[in-house]
């Protein structure tokens, strides 16, 4: 038997006319010369024998076990079915080859981004300027855990405005929660109740739920309350008996920091913490009590006249950017205030900037020549 692929010396490739005619007659039913037809008849007998043998069971069935093996292998090696995203990606990769489609896609992306930014802008109301408000409202801002622990550990002690914060252990992954004491004069009182964030809430994102428009507050401050007159003492230290309001301002970019454990390590900032606003009540203990009975681990709550629950989505990655933006805004406002000679406002804003973004405060704010005389 010759080697596979090697030419068969006894079988030249050339076909005679009779042979070609016989093959055509045999397989294609064409006309054939008598000689070709006679040759085809001999070959037809071979085909008949083969066909007979096959009818009688010459063909065999392969073992069924092979089917099972092959199907298992097919499943194992089956290419992963393209998901919706993958199909979309393929479609886009093809479509984007067209310049017109590419241009339209660019417009859509830019427009979409602008739309998103615009919508967020509606949620985050611009920072009021110093001139717009009375002596800057003090704020509750995030502080390191130890700071609050020091305060909260003193049960029923008064806490200064700056101490009324949900403390952030790390800071980087937290948003900010601000408790603004309305400028209620001597009658303002801020009270935080249950301003805590449970450990379980520090990692679980929550959907953003904004209060109705009428209850949506400026991120900077909520003024008012029974004692609120707009011209109150900016310091929460001046709390007195009035039923002031302490609010937690939460915006889309904010994360409320609440004390996770007021009695011990202090509050922990919480992404997605729930912020509950309740009507302010006279504290059971002393003003500014952070250790009140209303505080519950797992909640970041404070009180306002209108009970509003605001749940803030986790936006840990945006916190630093937001803080920097706020700090920059405050710097501009501080310059305006300094130019006006309102150093008290500058100092308040300096405190805020320092709390928001210490690095920015040190590197920029504190060295700003326009602010030097006030700091």
């Amino acid at each position: 038997m010759p080697r596979p692929g090697a030419p068969d010396p006894a079988a030249p490739d050339e076909l005679s006319a009779d042979e070609r005619g016989a093959l055509a007659h045999l397989y294609e039913g064409g006309e054939a010369s008598p000689a070709a037809a006679a040759r085809a008849a001999g070959w037809r007998s071979v085909r008949a024998v083969v066909a007979h043998a096959r009818r009688e069971g010459f063909d065999e069935e392969p073992p069924a076990r092979l089917d099972a093996l092959l199907l298992a292998a097919a499943r194992q090696h089956a290419p992963a079915r393209a998901g919706v995203l993958e199909r979309l990606r393929r479609w886009l990769s093809t479509a984007l080859l067209q310049p017109a489609v590419l241009g339209a896609a660019a417009v859509a992306v830019i427009g979409g981004t602008a739309g998103v930014l615009y919508l967020r802008g509606q949620v985050r109301v611009s920072e009021p300027t110093v001139g717009e408000r009375a002596p800057a409202a003090p704020r509750f801002e995030a502080h390191p855990a130890g700071e609050l622990a020091g305060v909260a550990g003193l049960d029923n002690d008064e806490a200064s405005a700056d101490d009324l914060h949900g403390a952030a252990p790390g800071g980087a992954a937290t948003g900010e929660g601000k408790l603004d004491e309305p400028g209620a004069g001597a009658g303002s009182e801020a009270e935080t109740r249950g301003l805590t964030a449970g450990p379980d809430r520090t990692t679980r994102p929550r959907p953003l739920e904004l209060p109705p428009p009428e209850q949506r507050h400026d991120r900077t401050a909520i003024r008012g309350g029974p004692g609120g007159g707009g011209g109150g003492d900016p310091a929460l230290d001046d709390r007195s008996d009035g039923r002031g309001v302490a609010t937690v301002i939460a915006t889309a970019d904010d994360e409320v920091r609440g004390g996770a454990d007021r009695g011990a390590a202090g509050a922990r900032a919480s992404a997605g913490a729930s912020v509950e606003e309740k009507p302010a009540e006279p504290p059971p203990g002393r003003d500014g009590d952070l250790g009140g009975e209303d505080r519950k681990a797992g909640d970041a709550t404070t009180s306002t006249p209108d009970r509003v629950t605001v749940t803030v989505g986790q936006r840990g990655g945006r916190t630093t950017v937001t803080n920097r933006a706020q700090a920059e805004n405050l710097l501009r406002q501080a310059r305006t205030a300094a130019a006006r000679g309102d150093c008290a406002a500058v100092k308040v804003m300096a405190r805020r900037v320092r709390a928001l973004d210490p690095a920015y405060y040190t590197a920029t704010f504190a060295r700003d020549p326009e602010l030097e005389r006030c700091l």
Partner: protein, 200 residues
């Protein structure tokens, strides 16, 4: 219906992860591939291995399959190449031939004698058994070039053009090989031509 789709469409479906499409392809071609390999090689055990290997290559090569290629051409090219390789290895090992006696004695019978048989009258069964043996012997006696062409044309009903694609030679060469194969088989199976005519 998936079962009515062309082989090529089913292969594309399998490329996209639809195992059911491969299952249908396997059901369509397993028997023909197996018998092609079995008649080419003449050994059941090896034929099973080669059948498995053929479809394994289809599975593993599914990503490379192009819709333009005819599936059966691709499938039988794989099967045929495996048979050629196997034949070369067998020659190297000097493997026993299928129609060689299984024992030392010449009258001990061959592997063909143990072919499975279906239910039929014993005399007819005996005649067919002899026919199978002779047919397999005659096919095995063909040169490999003639054998593969004959098997593809008569057992797989492939047109000469497609056979030429699988084997990789001109169509006229395929026809020439077919001519020689038919001529040899006519001589070897001459005594059965009346049987084929007699049986309806």
């Amino acid at each position: 219906m998936l079962t009515q789709e062309a082989d090529e469409d089913l292969m594309v479906r399998y490329q996209q992860g639809e195992v059911r499409a491969f299952e249908i392809l396997l059901g369509r071609h397993r028997k023909s591939v197996y018998n092609f390999v079995l008649r080419y090689i003449g050994d059941k055990e090896t034929a099973e291995d080669l059948l498995q290997e053929t479809f394994m290559r289809v599975i593993k090569g599914a990503d490379a399959y192009k819709r333009q290629a005819k599936f059966t051409t691709w499938l039988y090219t794989i099967a045929r190449n495996l048979c050629v390789d196997q034949t070369r290895r067998r020659k190297h090992r000097k493997h026993a031939s299928l129609d060689a006696p299984m024992a030392a004695a010449d009258d001990s019978g061959t592997l063909l004698d143990v072919l499975p048989s279906n239910e039929m009258a014993s005399d007819r069964k005996t005649v067919n058994k002899e026919l199978y043996r002779r047919l397999q012997g005659a096919i095995g006696a063909l040169s490999e070039e003639q054998r593969e062409v004959f098997l593809m044309r008569e057992f797989l009903d492939m047109p000469f053009k497609q056979i030429a694609d699988v084997v990789g030679v001109p169509e006229n060469t395929v026809k020439s090989r077919m001519r020689y194969a038919l001529e040899k088989l006519r001589l070897d199976l001459d005594e059965y031509k009346d049987l084929a005519k007699a049986v309806p």
